[in-house]
Symmetry: none
Subunit: 303 residues, 2 copies
Amino acid sequence: MIERIHLEILRAVEEHGSLTAASKKLHLTQSALSHSMRKLEEQLGVEVWLREGRTLRPTQAGEYLLAIANRLVPQLEHAEKRLRQFAEGERGTLRIGMECHPCYQWLLKVASPFLAAWPGVDMDVIQKFKFGGIGALFGYEIDMLVSPDPLYKTGLTFEPVFDYEQVLVVGDDHPLCRARYAKPEQLSGEVLITYPVPADRLDVFTRFLTPAGISPRQHKEIETTDIMLQMVASGRGVAALPRWLVEEYRSRFPVYPVRLGKGGVQKQIFLGIREADADIDYIRAFLEMARSHAKDAFKRARK
Amino acid sequence: MIERIHLEILRAVEEHGSLTAASKKLHLTQSALSHSMRKLEEQLGVEVWLREGRTLRPTQAGEYLLAIANRLVPQLEHAEKRLRQFAEGERGTLRIGMECHPCYQWLLKVASPFLAAWPGVDMDVIQKFKFGGIGALFGYEIDMLVSPDPLYKTGLTFEPVFDYEQVLVVGDDHPLCRARYAKPEQLSGEVLITYPVPADRLDVFTRFLTPAGISPRQHKEIETTDIMLQMVASGRGVAALPRWLVEEYRSRFPVYPVRLGKGGVQKQIFLGIREADADIDYIRAFLEMARSHAKDAFKRARK
DNA sequence: TTCCAAGTGGATGCGTTCGATCATGGCGTT
DNA sequence: AACGCCATGATCGAACGCATCCACTTGGAA
């Protein structure tokens, strides 16, 4: 078996010229190096060095093994470095699962300060799960789930981090443009634009239209928020989005938020993690930043 | 220090599911595995597995280390194999990666004279890569890449070894059978048979149909050249293959090559190697034989 | 549904084996 | 002749194996 020590010896001998010198670098004795290399040579049936007097000249096999060593040893060293960083909690990948499109928009706002504050932590966002977001959390496919649907179950912890209102978005020449709120039946002749997810996962259906027994004239699915709002702005339809998101886009598009029903549709975003991970520092930090960001957003909204 | 045994243990546990099962594969006891991994964990300060009851679930650090293991251990195993070959006077194994089906047909023609001329060198052909052919070259999974797409990048050398023309293949009762060349629109009603690779990797699409905005009536994928040409011969569709390949099959099937467009689709096969390997004698020899074979083929074609 | 027993898998303490060290010898260079 | 370097044989510590313990899972009977 080629062991790491053999590769290290080859490199050290190449660098320092002799077994004795190499032994000092490797904090072993010259004897140990001699023994182990000879054993390897016996196992493989190949001489690694030609012993010419007191100098060691690599054979062809030795050159080959040296090339292997120069390639693999640095990788091992780098791996050790990274794992030690893991140990200090400063290294890892925070894999975040998303279960809703507005969540993604919200996440982007938290992500950049987090990445700045934790330069050692990478972030990955995953939106496709084999067995749903909860399954992904339990199955260690992700470390954090951003979702509007909390699940209080043993092993997981969900925490609300952001309250918002889901509103209707209309263009500036739309009849509802200046209305205090929209009634379900006022959408029966409209084109409703949503993200491409099943209707039973869309609040505008489950908490607004369906209870009133209303369907829109047409239901279009669009992936990106920008295009969606351009469609709305040009009078091609209406959409349902978080109010804070609409407010941000109002400077770029002539769109208006309209309350969905008299009381509006109130929503929360939850962050879920495994209880076992609750005391990982960068996970705590992410939760903390998510909460404080929510407060800031709230303050801005009251101004 | 991360030793080889740690990497082996990680791989074996991943494969067999438990330390006990892994210990059998590694010809060690469960105790030894437990001891060494715990020592590594203490040295690095990182848990490699979460011990949840009697199951071992890799942590992020464990997953990371497993990825390292899956990359490095095969290289060590291959190195051992090669060194043993050295011991028996053999020279090594030339691992050739293929990125296109016609390349494989071409390779077969070069392989037999090479193996005859270099009895000490084995050959292995690999067609599945995790990170593409270039990645396999860089990652020392292969020593030579046969590909129609060269990549001139530091560390690698690509060299064209064979020019050929990609042609349409039709059966003897096909209207295009005696045509000087085919126009894209003449394929709009046809069944096009190709190897099972994405359309954007097929020249008949990228350099013939797609520029003209044409799609075939149907697109079928078939793995083997023989079956493909039998389909073509029986009038079940048309295919696109190298001209020299079609010429060889014409003695066995009633099939005809037809130029793709007025100018035809001209192609080259490239051989790529690592620059570091450029002066290994049998690699130079292979390149030389590949070039000379191309010349012979050219001469034969002119007869 | 609850309980218990059997079976399985990981952790751990202690004895043995293997590898590193030490001491020494051989050989070539200076 | 003296020094430096590698090789080799005998002693000491670390790693492996054995036996055992403990935790968890499973299946069947109460």
